[in-house]
Symmetry: C2
Subunit: 439 residues, 2 copies
């Protein structure tokens, strides 16, 4: 079934029987006409209205704790209220609303994302998942439906600054971390106060393992995989582990005119060979591992001097920690070989090291079944980018739903996800929540 | 014959018969004990004394028109006088002295170099050739010897800023060039005034083709070729032509975590492949051509973003203009291939283009014969660096003598040429002048 347009859709949703919301048959019939759906038009209208907040000539600028972020949070709190929710701000500054379930003693199902942006970013990275979570609650409210489990809708603060809100929610930040300066120029400590949190009460916002039944997050893919494959839904297998290396290549600076080619210790040549070798290594083995040389600083960086030193970074990611270790060894071996061949020395330093966060297999099955039931094509895939879900995965079963990014572009004013894909993602989120609620 | 130490040498020189200075037999006997020599001890004492002028923690700093350059010029004028010469400053600011010859109507033999330095440079690049030229005149003066030709000793101003003094001497600078700012922060126009030249009278300093019998310049090699080959004297075949390219590689910036390896347009990967390919190309053919990627600027230069753009430079040099054209085509072809394979675009711009300046074959023969006569090992080689000789080559037969740089290092506080090699170079200069005078 192809997605109908939103006016038709809204009318159809209004006419749909609500029976079957808690029945097990829904996921068994492909493209069932009575599979529940959110109000996709309403979701897209909210996203369109939100696009005006923090929009500048360079793109969306709602970096955490900035005036535009505060405006975005006020907009979001209002959206909670329109959905029949009563939002609160926890001590960490995360926005939260809870709808009690029908069965006592069950832990909450948590759904949400973030609304802050990078500098010169787009309007979909974060808001889509946040507004869709609110829309799921809104749809349930419209239908006067309550889940067995409590439903909690969350909008994490300062995701782009390093999943700060979700890290605070699992107690993963130290007191010293709070003094780090965010992109807005304010410290996290200052930011928490500014957005209505309370540093002295931070412990009250911490969730423990077992506190949450499960967590779902809908997000734009931020890559081109789904678009290229022609698939509508990505069933995220996990968030890749990440290792950042800073590598210093030391050669010997000398005259570019008078030093024969066979008497050089050219740090740039060595760095170039290494950059090519890293690329060949990660592409030479099956899998979805990625490695990027993104930053290169050459000294003295003068046209007629053979480079004496190059400092470069490698960003290595994979869902499998074993592969991260494997390629780490590979890169070190390649560096030794290239160093020996070029008369240069390579020194490695690790800047960042985060382990993969795997999605829960049963939740992935539920997402897959929901997509099938909605007649949406889907595929499993890793998330190459970090998300709040990677923090919550430390304390609860987690899963993520991806929808395509046009051109694979994100963190850019050109970031765009089609309205129908936004609605598809929210529909899958709704049905995945319903499936989890039945489990 | 091995070189005796300087005290012995000075004594020996004093005892040497001056007969044979103008006889043709000198160059026919290998390692002749009566081959004339300069006062090597005196030369090295001058160089050692000069080392104190402009010496800073970072190296020698006598950049043209700086207070240290003025001090260096005053020292040099005094050295002219000690050699029995009467120095003048021409309108271009070059320091000059002339000793008339015995035969009327002959054009002058010109010898010299420069005394300005780069920032944080050494004490040998320039001063060795300048002081050796003065020492040659001093030796002739000590012996009361006069050449058939007039002998002119010259110390060119601002060589390191782009062979300014020698360019002015051949009328190669425009009025607009005079307003360019030199490393000292002063314009060339201001600098000329400061060092005793006269911009309104610049035309009076210009030499025309045919005005000069020949030009010799002794210089440190500034490379490691002679040291590696174990040779004492380099007979310079010419000064290489030079072409500088600025190449902009345009890819597409994207998320380093979410963009699959096969969907990237990575400008840094393309730039790295090109850097390796340029190196392979110049090393893959016989000859002494050199190419260097010395400057690399990456955008956005962030660890987790695939580089969107890289601007890099290639410095290409060879004695044969045909090879420069050949490798230009090669680099353009490689760029097209790598661009097509990586989904990137390469755009070339030429920053600098200077043609090779070839040494005069008869003058080279004279240098070679002088070295042989002095018992010094020698070999022919190109100059990979630029020198004032390349300008004078436009109007007169030119030749250069090289002596080894320890470790091939120059333009560095570690620049060093052994005292015995300095003396060897000056001895060869003396004998090459004598040979040319006989011709």
């Amino acid at each position: 079934m192809r997605r109908r347009d939103f006016v038709q859709q809204a009318a159809a949703l209004a006419a749909l029987p609500v029976a079957g919301f808690d029945g097990p048959t829904l996921t068994r019939r492909a493209s069932s006409p009575d599979t529940p759906r959110v109000n996709g038009e309403r979701l897209n209208q909210s996203l369109a209205a939100f696009d005006r907040i923090g929009r500048t000539a360079g793109g969306i600028n709602r970096v955490a704790y900035s005036p535009a972020d505060l405006d975005g949070r006020a907009f979001t709190l209002n959206l909670f209220r329109q959905a029949g929710l009563t939002p609160t701000i926890d001590a960490a500054g995360n926005m939260l609303a809870r709808v009690e379930g029908t069965q006592a003693g069950l832990k909450p199902i948590l759904i949400g994302s973030h609304v802050d942006s990078v500098t010169d970013g787009g309007n979909f990275d974060g808001p889509l998942g946040s507004f869709s979570a609110i829309e799921v609650a809104h749809t349930l409210h419209d239908r006067s439906l309550r889940l067995r489990h409590p439903l909690e809708v969350v909008v994490w603060q300062n995701e782009e600054g390093g999943t700060i809100g979700s890290k605070l929610a699992i107690g993963a930040l130290t007191d010293a971390d709070l003094d780090k300066v965010a992109r807005s120029g304010k410290t996290i400590r200052e930011g928490i106060g500014l957005i209505g949190g309370s540093v002295p009460r931070l412990a009250s916002a911490v969730r423990r393992p077992g506190d949450i039944a499960c967590y779902f997050e809908l997000h734009i893919e931020q890559g081109g995989l789904l678009e290229k494959a022609g698939r509508q839904i990505g069933v995220v297998q996990g968030i890749v582990g990440l290792r950042w290396f800073e590598i210093t290549v030391t050669g010997f600076g000398n005259h570019a005119g008078t030093t024969p080619m066979d008497q050089r210790q050219d740090a740039m040549l060595a760095a170039a060979k290494f950059t090519v070798a890293v690329n060949d290594a990660v592409r030479g083995e099956p899998g979805r591992q990625v490695a990027t040389v993104g930053r290169v600083v050459v000294s003295p960086n003068t046209t007629n001097v053979i480079p004496a030193q190059v400092v470069l970074t490698v960003d290595l990611r994979d869902l499998d920690q074993g592969k991260i270790e494997h390629f780490t060894s590979e890169f070190e071996r390649l560096a030794r070989e290239i160093g020996a061949a070029t008369g240069t020395a390579f020194a490695f330093r690790r800047l960042v090291d985060s382990e993969p966060a795997l999605a829960d297999p049963r939740l992935m099955d539920g997402i897959e079944a929901s997509a099938t039931s909605l007649g949406l094509s889907h595929q499993r895939m890793p998330s190459g980018a970090g998300h709040d879900a990677q923090e919550i995965a430390r304390i609860a079963p987690m899963a993520m739903i991806f929808v395509p990014s046009v051109g694979g572009i994100s963190h850019s004013p050109r970031e765009f996800t089609r309205p129908e894909d936004c609605a598809h993602g929210a529909d899958v989120l709704l049905n995945a929540v319903l499936a989890a609620d039945r489990a």
